[in-house]
Amino acid sequence: MDSFVPLWVLCISAILIFTVPNNFKHTISLALVAITIAFTSYWAGLALFYGFELQGLSPFSMISGDSPIVVDKLSAFFILVVNFTVLTGLLYAKGYLKSYLKTKNKHLMSIHYFSYVWLYFSMLLVTMVRGGLDFLIVWELMTISSFLLVIFDSEKEDILKTGINYLIQMHVGFLFLLVGFLFTGEFSGTISFDSMGVAFSSNELFEVFGSHGNFWLFLIFFIGFGIKAGFIPLHAWLPHAHPAAPSHVSGVMSGVMIKMGIYGILRVLTHLQSDWMEVGVFILIISILSGLYGVMMAIVQHDLKKLLAYHSIENIGIIGIGIGLGLIGIATENHPLAVLGFGGGILHILNHSLFKSLLFYGAGSVYKSTHTRELNSLGGLIKSMPKTAIFFLLGALAICGLPPFNGFVSEFLIYSGLFKSLSSANLNMSLMFLGGITSLALIGGLAIFCFTKAFGVVFLGSARCEFPIKPVEADGSMLFSKLLVAVVIVMIGVLPNLFLQPISEVVGMFVTSGGDVFAKTMHTTSQVGIISGIFILVIVVLYFMRKKQQSTVAVEYGPTWGCGYTGADPAVHQYTATSYADNYKQLTKPVVGSETEYKSFSEEEIFAPARSFVSHSHDKIEDNIINKGIAWILKTMERFAVLHTGKVQHYLIYPLVFILTLFLLTLLNII
């Protein structure tokens, strides 16, 4: 408990937020977060760079027995990621929430800031506590605080509904975690992460689950954590909750909170004793499907934030591909694959937290100045908010995995692992790796498709409809937080080795003998950095050449080439988000559910009346598995609800039947 005292003090002092007036709430939250960041980053730094793992006891020890808190390398990595995104999120919130200060009352603002700070604390604690009960408590705290953040705008009725949907799905996940931990406790004697290793190798496990016990127990945890992380088909909450939340919250939720699911999976994996192959293949397949499905669904979205939310699923898929490959590498004792897989996956956690928060901040700025997230009514914003546009473009390039930005580095590592192992594997493995390569390539292509659409439609061209208030550039604080993120994104892209060093420490937790692989990889990535540098240099040279040329010749401005027709407003026949995705939709009909409402012309119509065209997309997995499943459960439950007939005669049959049945069962030795 000793070393962590500052953290507890900070946790409690979050109450201060309630006591100060509205204008200071942000300042005080920022101060709290900043101090916490200072402490935790120091701890994390100790673990990551000096190998010193800070240890202590959790305050819950009084109830649940000794339960340690440890900042090891894995926790340290996640702490640093969380710290950065939470900080930028809070900086961004200053500008974003400014307009809400007038409309929301004091208590709502207090609750919002308090939940934000507590979301931060709970995420920190999730990565640090080791006792199972403690973990479940902080996990629940995380869910509740994020729930409160999601329903910030609860005057809109949809948002509350979404929030409750989120809460329920999180609790389904919680149930699985609880079951998983109970099994751990059953098999090892104590409910904690540290005893998981014992549980995974205990005889009871194999008695209960059969010879692939490790896989089945892992699966329980995977479902629990996977709901948070958003793997398909557990993702149904994600595309609804992210758009509903305020943008800084979506940034934090998508950037780091869903990574807590990944953290849980990784933490459980460190204790896995066998079945690496099965688990690895399972994660790989689920992740490939998540990656593809996420990006495929993203393309057809009209809502900018929903689009980004689906991209979270895609990126979770990429992270999962890395982890799955790493596990296969461990199983086949293929060190390069293991190191590169885990390394890529873990680096992508960091990367995704950066560019996704950047994109959400960008989307938030757009929403704030235009009050819409509907792609088809946006357009041409690059002229009124050029800085936001540049940052969004940067995020878009990074999320597509294009060099010289950070997304490329992590995808590069995963690709390298795949390609390196291609020739040394057997047929099945080779095909699996090929599947990984192809799907990564396809994901990359689709992401480009999606973000050219998103960026092009929102920021480029001319405005598609009149905004009541002319859009203006985002606030200084909002831009500043974006700048912070952007700098790190470029840094990872150009100087990847700076970041790969700590990551190799984290990977060391999974693969013990991968040091030389990492040294080689660092050599390679430095080359990546060099070529990125050359690339930038060429751009600069060409730019100046062009500038010189332009200064000597006449440069004119005129309307866009309209195929000779200048009668109509060019904005009218611009490509929209829907038309951009149309041919894609035709191709992917079996996977992506979409409908259009349109009545075509009939022969009798000489003077056709005005027509409308509406298109919707819907998530087929959500429709078919979640919604239909719930409908089925409700229907079945309805059938159970037959006992309360209102007749005393019936009420007395139940005990008679109950006693006789149980008596018979007893006689027959069934129970």
Partner: protein
């Protein structure tokens, strides 16, 4: 460095060769081999007209497009003799993603004009390049499988062709690379650069609004890109033939020329595909690539 040089030479003769071939086949006299470059030079000296809808994205896109292709060329080796300027494990990934970067910028620059036609072109370009990506990666995977190395130079150096199955594999790969090149460079059968109807164009309609220096850059880049893929094909074919350094260099240029003539032939005798068949056509390439991949299993006797 030598590969860079050879690619520049290839790029120099490429557009001219194609147009000469096409002219001859249709019974015309045809322009000189450097006519395209004369056009480009004129463009480079011209002034520009910009749409007032556009922003800086439109202006920097051609530069970045060109830079991306130049960056990609740096990684192309010269057969089994000389590696590219920069060579490292997995450089072909950098290659592919670098090109994608340029394409990204070109697509959004087309959207920047706010024109319906250019948006359409951008959309098609994005779709086709997305669909062709898997095929390219599968072909590369098969080469990696066969050689056991993951950088361009080592891949091609250790690429052994022993029996007729291997030659079959080479044939398939070359076919695939040609097709991929054609798609990437917006040629027949997916796109026809000489079409005159905006509604049926893909790449050309994207650059409708570019003019002057920018257009010149785009056209140079197109030629470079073509030559770059030609070099890739050359790299695949030359090392197994075990020629000497000088002969290889010659073969390199010859292959580029042959490639250009082939394209000319194809464009003369073939019509463009219907727009709706394009995705199927491109996806079929992935299927054929898979066959190549399986062929590798036979060659390496894994199955």
């Amino acid at each position: 460095m030598i590969s860079l040089l050879l690619i520049f030479i290839g790029a120099l003769i490429f557009p001219g060769l194609i147009s000469i071939t096409k002219a001859k086949l249709s019974g015309k006299k045809g322009p000189g081999i450097f006519q395209p470059y004369k056009d480009i030079l004129r463009l480079l000296k011209k002034g520009s007209v910009y749409s007032s809808t556009t922003s800086f994205v439109f202006q920097v896109a051609p530069i970045i497009y060109m830079a991306s292709v130049l960056g990609a060329i740096l990684m192309i080796p010269f057969g089994n003799f000389k590696q590219g300027l920069i060579s490292f494990e997995g450089d072909f990934l950098m290659f592919a993603y670098m090109l994608a970067f340029g394409k990204f910028l070109m697509i959004i620059s087309a959207l920047d004009t706010g024109s319906g036609f250019e948006g359409m072109g951008a959309n098609r370009e994005a779709l086709y390049s997305m669909l062709v990506e898997p095929a390219f990666f599968i072909v590369l995977s098969s080469v990696v499988m066969l050689s056991g190395y993951t950088s361009f130079y080592e891949m091609f150096t250790h690429f052994h062709v022993e029996n007729y199955v291997s030659w079959l594999y080479v044939a398939i790969s070359v076919y695939l690379l040609i097709q991929i090149t054609l798609i990437e460079n917006s040629r027949l059968p997916v796109d026809d650069p000489k079409t005159h109807l905006e509604l049926t164009m893909v790449h050309e309609v994207m650059v409708l609004d570019n003019s002057g220096f920018d257009l010149g850059l785009i056209q140079i880049t197109g030629a470079l890109k073509f030559a770059m893929f030609g070099a890739l094909i050359g790299n695949l074919v030359i090392p197994p033939m075990h020629l000497g350094f000088e002969l290889s260099a010659l073969a390199f240029v010859v292959i580029q020329a042959l490639f250009a003539i082939t394209v000319g032939f194809m464009e003369s005798f073939r019509a463009r595909l219907k727009m709706i068949y394009n995705p199927q056509f491109i996806l079929t390439l992935s299927g054929i690539a898979l066959i190549a991949f399986f062929a590798v299993f036979f060659i390496t006797k894994t199955i």
